[in-house]
């Protein structure tokens, strides 16, 4: 099973236009199993678009995306099946407002026949205990704080037992006092070996958890390297300019 493919995710000359606006201009990137890749860059540089292309929430204009060896941009391929193995966490949580906290977690695994209702319930209990939301399991999401919603959104994805997690600015919509609790959950997750792609503006966090950091600028990868390389010795003037703005 393992190593039939070179990288868990690989993009080849990935381009995305919105009308006449060229948002991704040919991105060649890869993510390896167990790797934690963070994406930083100025607003509008295409970070979210890149991440959303990885699970085909945006349809690329051209180029290819290989997930576990399969080109998921092919016509006629079942994207749904591949999405089951790619968890995604959104800036605005997007927890299901019509379902209880516990149902948020069990809906997909049961519906997609990954688990029986009983198995899913047991797993939900475990996941809720892990994020300290056990006493809220029958509440509706409107009763949760932003930080609680985002932690719920994270474990909702985990219930599908994904091979990779995609995070799109998971803490940007949170009140400052709730950022820490969410970052803590993500830290524990990556420590346990979860392959992750994280778009973030939290530079300290990026430095701490990343194996590799890429700096996106205007639809291109302007620079990439280890956290030390990128944060301590940026080579590209655009990277230097960006970092000087966000770090001080």
């Amino acid at each position: 099973m393992t190593d039939k493919y070179e990288h868990m995710i690989k993009t080849v000359d990935l381009k995305k236009d919105f009308g006449s606006l060229k948002v991704l201009k040919g991105v060649n990137e890869h993510v390896d199993k167990g790797e934690v890749l963070t994406i930083i860059g100025p607003s509008g540089s295409g970070k979210s678009t890149f991440l959303r292309c990885l699970n085909m929430l945006e349809t690329p204009t051209s180029g290819q995306i290989f997930f576990e060896g399969t080109d998921i941009t092919q016509k006629g391929i079942s994207v749904d099946a591949h999405r089951q193995k790619m968890g995604m966490v959104f800036q605005h949580f997007n927890v299901f407002n019509n379902l209880t906290v516990k149902k948020n977690i069990t809906l997909a695994p049961v519906l997609l026949k990954k688990k029986t209702q009983k198995e899913a319930d047991e797993m939900a209990d475990e996941l809720l205990a892990r994020i300290g939301l056990t006493d809220k399991k029958d509440a509706h999401p409107s009763r949760l704080s932003g930080g609680q919603k985002q932690r719920l959104a994270i474990v909702r994805s985990l219930a599908m037992e994904p091979d990779v997690m995609l995070f799109d600015e998971p803490t940007s919509a949170l009140d400052p006092e709730m950022v820490g609790e969410v970052l803590q959950v993500i830290k524990e997750l990556v420590k346990s070996g979860m392959t992750s792609v994280i778009v973030t503006h939290e530079m300290g966090f990026a430095k701490e958890v990343s194996d590799r950091v890429i700096f996106m600028d205007d639809g291109n990868i302007a620079e990439e390297g280890t956290p030390t390389e990128l944060f301590e010795h940026p080579q590209n003037p655009r990277t230097q300019e960006f970092l000087s703005k966000v770090l001080y």
């Binding site: 299901f96 407002n97 409107s142 599908m160």
Partner: protein
């Protein structure tokens, strides 16, 4: 005048009761049929096939761009000629015309109700691997219903008033009752006042009930 009103009521009150019943029957049948068909139309408008989308949109635009009275005439006179085999009653023709009209408005209500659900809900469901149909059924529609239901009730109230146009064909609704009594007694103001008060009472009570329902649904979030 008050005397006349009392006289009309005591002599022809039963006619108003019959009229009220027919108005409500007509409105209920219309709103029920158009709720089902309008929802289907709203879903069809989201089809991947361009011709389907085009036809549905054209239908909505045509209905909304022509007067209901004209549509009533059209169905009343055309339908029996077009399909004589069915031997459609006048009442049925009127119902079909009202449904034809109301479906377009219901489709818009349903569309707006779905559109008001945050796009992120669908995206989150899809990102977990749900098909768009599963996401629709389990996540989006249950939330859309909260927007749609009160608007549908308001459509019911609007239809109650619109059915008065069908009295052109003497189908026995409240407005027909007015015309009948006017024919018997040559009174105008008095039976008109009675009809107006009946319409107002029904729609007022319904509107208040809908507002209460809406508040309750908001609270249950």
């Amino acid at each position: 005048m008050l005397q006349n009103i009392i006289k009309v009521l005591s002599k022809y009150g039963y006619l108003f009761a019959d009229g009220l019943w027919i108005t409500i029957e007509l409105s209920l049948i219309t709103v029920l049929c158009s709720s089902v068909l309008g929802s289907l139309l709203a879903i069809a408008r989201r089809s991947r096939l361009l011709p389907v989308r085009f036809l549905c949109t054209a239908y909505v635009e045509v209905v909304r761009g022509t007067p209901l009275l004209l549509q009533l005439y059209f169905f009343y006179f055309m339908l029996p000629n077009l399909v004589p085999a069915l031997k459609l009653s006048e009442f049925t023709c009127v119902v079909i015309a009202l449904v034809f009209n109301s479906v377009a408005y219901v489709a818009e209500i349903v569309r707006a109700g779905i559109g008001a659900v945050d796009r992120g809900q669908m995206e989150a469901a899809r990102s977990l691997g749900l098909s768009s149909k599963q996401a629709m059924i389990h996540v989006v529609l249950p939330q859309a219903v909260k927007n749609i239901l009160p608007a549908l009730c308001n459509e019911f109230v609007a239809i109650i008033k619109e059915t008065s146009l069908a009295s052109t064909f003497f189908i026995g609704d409240i407005m027909t009752t007015y015309k009948t009594i006017n024919g018997f007694t040559f009174l105008i103001i008095e039976p008109l006042l009675i009809a107006g008060i009946i319409y107002f009472c029904v729609t007022f009570v319904l509107s208040k009930a809908i507002a209460a329902l809406e508040r309750k649904m908001k609270a249950s979030d």
